[in-house]
Symmetry: C2
Subunit: 106 residues, 2 copies
């Protein structure tokens, strides 16, 4: 396969002090998603900045948009419909890179 | 230098239909920032998902947190204090990777 992977980024507004709780719930969902066909990789980022509004960002690569869509199945919905997720609203979208820069050699 | 670069992620809520306007203003700032000491690289992501709330995410690497802080200087502030930025509120923070997964070989 030579196509570029699909970039899915999910931002989470997590109340300060509840990061560990969020992480436990997120890990449950991630453990499920990473077994799905077409999953490539993910990196979960946690804010170091105090009072950051978005405290977690999950940067995920999928082989295709179809695989990404198919992975959000009944099993996924059962996990994220658990009541505790109400406190950790996701802001998900598929993205494309539109500008890329590198430092010039000195 | 063997230390890991610092990850700075800036999310932007851009009104739908004003992406090109945002991109022009953002490019002006990025052109300035990428000349600063300690800048490593950046990738600007644009949402493909219709009605995404966060329409742009800039993923930036800096050599150190000090370099990142120093780059946000008077010249930077002069750029982002221009009135048009009021319509494109940034949600910035420094992040660390706390979980990383890769697909298992089939």
């Amino acid at each position: 396969m030579t196509t570029e992977p699909v970039i899915f980024i999910n931002c989470f507004e997590v109340p300060k002090g509840r990061e560990d709780e969020f992480f436990a719930h997120w890990s449950e969902v991630n453990t499920y998603m990473k077994t799905k066909p077409g999953f490539v990789s993910n990196r979960l980022h946690r804010a170091k900045t105090p009072n950051a509004r978005i405290r977690f960002i999950n940067y995920v690569l999928w082989e295709t948009e179809e695989a990404w869509a198919a992975a959000h199945d009944e099993g996924f919905r059962a996990l994220v419909q658990k009541p505790h997720w109400r406190d950790f609203p996701p802001i998900p979208a598929i993205f494309e890179v539109v500008s890329e820069s590198y430092a010039q050699a000195a």
